[in-house]
Symmetry: none
Subunit: 215 residues, 4 copies
DNA sequence: CATGAATGAGCGTTCATTCAT
DNA sequence: GATGAATGAACGCTCATTCAT
């Protein structure tokens, strides 16, 4: 990417990013038309290829750009919270809020994950993997694993939890798009799923709760 | 699709289906090249368009064709087995076996699910939804829900189970490709995940087991 | 053309001729589709190319076929009628009647006249020229040229007459298509045009008419 | 049409127009090959479709372009000349001169008139009809109809005159193509035809001439 | 005699990218 | 720096014709 792109007026830069993401999401990498992008962004063909050396360069830039937005999610993780379920609730909802604010960014990420074009698949995969790993590393820092039953396989339990969260966000994806804000309804909905797993994962879950209540 | 395609020698028919699936998986609907397909299938351009009236027709045929393979999975469901976990184990492994035997078919299905091309998205979506629904309906027939704890939300618990199975197959997808056969290793692996959920879902899970032992 | 075509059942032969003419009229020689022709005629591709060695052969056959119909017009010329105007009226209306009965044949002739395809233009032109010449030769046999004013250039006057007849049929072409029969209305209409020219061409035209009136 | 085409160097623009007209005349709308056009015009395929959004757009542009040339004919009409025959002579010869200078333009117009392709027939027909009407309207402005015999049907007489002129130009079409200039030979030739009709149309034609001579 | 599967050149059109202005 | 005209390879698809059945 040419540094000229950085020196652009913020407005024009955003128009280009949005137009490009939209087109890539709508048609995939190969079928996305640079003509459509420049038309939607209101710039000339020459300008686009002045900022980015080619279509691939533009695509990979967008992945990096997306990265920044995603980082915000992980930075929002409260490392002080030792209860994994509580922490995940927070991070999950941070993610959902961002998904609401930058729906395009998440759509783009999804489309990148399923991009078949050999030209970009490998590179995109590596970028996304690096992103995810750095995120996951933070995710489990300082988690209090002693809350888990001794008999449970913590790794596998965590995997189930992850798959459940992904399934949950996928399921509520459309609802999210129409909500103005991620409200307590969704939180409660999630707590239902979380309770099912927590019950299985945590030591003396009901007893302790009862004990709390007895005081 | 022209019935001429049905009357083709099985070998040629398979070559065409394989070449087309491969190309669609590798490049997506729009970017897939009919030139590449005919070259790989060893037929002429004219022949392809003799069998299928156009690219879209070919694509939709492949979805239907895939359907048949998938139906085999659901037909393998043992409706006599009332324990959902046991039943799911069976179907899951039936699915995996097919995935091993027809890896291309499953890759194609996945790529169809993420196909952005407006031209086929809607139709493909409807076909796949119909497929899935008919499958899901059979999935839960005669399940003994009384095994579940009264306090558990059975619907949500089932969702978690589904998401976990999907996550599991995704995770072992690559491993599966190299395995010669879906062996007991994988079964044991899955039982670990299943145990975690079963513990949460089923009534008196440990007690009953103890009770069994006491006799 | 293969003689097999002659041995065909009259019905099938007609279907082929009609389907072919229709398609050639609608799209011109080059763009006419043999696929459309065989579909409309209800025969197989192979049959068409069994009867005619190729598209061009079929086209040229249709011109010859048309010729036969046209000959009927010229054969209807009453060589006993020495008055050119009267004779032309008769032949003109014979032509119109045929045009009504075989509208397709005339549409085809017109389209052949304007066919740009190098492949058939020359040959078609020659055929049509031969047709027309043999027709014109008969047209003027035994005409009583002494009716014309001595001062008039008979050749040029005849040309004007021809152009006028052609313009007239073109003008009433559409009307003809809807008429059930070429009625006396059209005849009267034509007589108006004829009168204008006759007045200029024939000797003592007005005087004689005056003379008639004086009696 | 893209305005880029207007900004082209006149030479290149002409090459494109000529190549396209030639190809359309030679093969008709549907069979005309854009490959041939670009090759003859010495431009790239991409350029042609940069100037014109598609083949149809190019074709319709050529009709409009032709229009301009034709307008010149009608603008050459001397509205001061009240004698229809004299006026027609002038316009006819203006037309012939243009036909000589832009033979391709007239060939193209003729081919458009007989174009069977549904895709362009209607639109082309409307354009040409509008052209012709505006031309015909001017043709008869200020004509001194009192020169005509009272007994003559002026409308029909005018039709005959038109058909004669059309026939005449058609007849001399080939000759015109070889002439360097429309010379007096042709004018005299036409006067012969005109005289035949004039004699029929105008009052006291010979007498008045005699009268003129007597003064 | 009749069929229709098979062919591959050719069609109109789109595309990312270059570069003179 | 910004523009958009120019390119030609590649696209999906059609075609008249052949020939094994």
């Amino acid at each position: 990417m040419n540094e000229a792109f950085f020196n652009l007026q913020s407005d024009k830069r955003k128009r280009i990013i949005n137009a490009a993401m939209q087109e890539f999401v709508a048609n995939g990498y190969t079928s996305a038309s640079t003509n459509t992008i420049v038309k939607d962004a209101g710039i000339s063909k020459g300008s686009l290829f002045h900022y980015f050396s080619n279509k691939k360069d533009l695509y990979l830039f967008l992945i990096d750009h997306t990265n920044i937005v995603i980082q915000d999610v992980y930075e929002a993780i409260d490392l002080e919270e030792p209860d994994l379920f509580k922490r995940l609730s927070k991070i999950g909802f941070a993610k959902m809020k961002i998904q609401q604010q930058y729906p395009q960014t998440f759509d783009f990420l999804t489309s990148v994950l399923n991009e078949p074009a050999e030209d970009v698949r490998q590179f995109a995969g590596e970028k996304l993997a690096a992103m995810q790993e750095s995120g996951f590393n933070q995710l489990y820092v300082n988690v209090d694993w002693s809350l888990f039953k001794d008999t449970i396989n913590v790794e596998k339990a965590t995997e189930i939890l992850n798959w459940t969260m992904m399934g949950f966000s996928e399921k509520y994806r459309n609802k999210l798009a129409t909500f103005k804000d991620v409200g307590p309804e969704l939180l409660e909905e999630w707590e239902d799923y979380a309770a099912i797993l927590k019950n299985s994962y945590y030591k003396d879950h009901s007893q302790r709760r009862n004990g709390d209540e007895s005081h």
